[in-house]
């Protein structure tokens, strides 16, 4: 129940295309869903996050879509650029009595081809 399942494991997108990464969860106590971007040799950096009281959130070229009934959420990166090539992790957390821990997905390695 504590798992977050992420797909695909790897993704190749042409420059200017849309990158789509999906995540699913089981624990209905989760109420915070961030996406992190990680470059090789670096720590994860927050890209965008959403709470379940909204179905969509957009920041720059990144959009999170959230489907509470299906317990799924996805990241869309519009106009993908070679600089977006990195590993992306979805995560989930419960707001209290959980010690603030993030449960991460397995990661998606995104490669944007010029």
């Amino acid at each position: 129940q504590q798992q977050v399942k992420q797909s695909p494991q790897s993704l190749i997108v042409q420059k200017g295309g849309i990158s789509i990464i999906n995540c699913a969860y089981e624990n209905t106590a989760f109420d915070y869903f961030p996406w992190y971007q990680q470059f090789p040799g670096k720590g994860p950096a927050l890209l965008i996050a959403i709470r379940p009281d909204v179905s969509e959130k957009k920041e720059g070229r990144s959009t999170i879509s959230f489907n509470k009934s299906a317990k799924q959420f996805s990241l869309h990166i519009m106009d993908s650029q070679p600089g977006d090539s990195a590993t992306y992790f979805c995560a989930a957390a419960a707001n209290y009595n959980q010690g603030g821990k993030l449960i991460f997905g397995q990661g998606t390695e995104l490669s944007v081809k010029p």
């Binding site: 992420q6 109420d31 915070y32 961030p34 992190y36 040799g41 670096k42 720590g43 994860p44 950096a45 927050l46 996050a49 709470r51 992790f89 995560a91 957390a93 419960a94 707001n95 209290y96 009595n97 959980q98 010690g99 603030g100 821990k101 993030l102 449960i103 991460f104 997905g105 397995q106 990661g107």
Partner: protein
Amino acid sequence: DAGVTQSPTHLIKTRGQQVTLRCSPISGHKSVSWYQQVLGQGPQFIFQYYEKEERGRGNFPDRFSARQFPNYSSELNVNALLLGDSALYLCASSSLAFGGETQYFGPGTRLLVL
């Protein structure tokens, strides 16, 4: 402002040895969490500390311990190192005790156990 800092950046140890990793949170952040990231996987929660108290512990053996100091910096200790402890150890800080707020990650300490 400085982000989360971790030291050392890299470390090589042999099986059975002990290691101490250090983390300084973002100024003003009172919560520090530790994660282990094995190559090719998402980070796994180890500990969370807030105001010098342990607020959460992941599924790790007792060989792993941590503490937080009055200045909110933190140390992670691992005793009796095993080959499987080789990983990137990440520290994250946040301003609130419990989940739901942004956790900012440091660059990590890369530990190799031979």
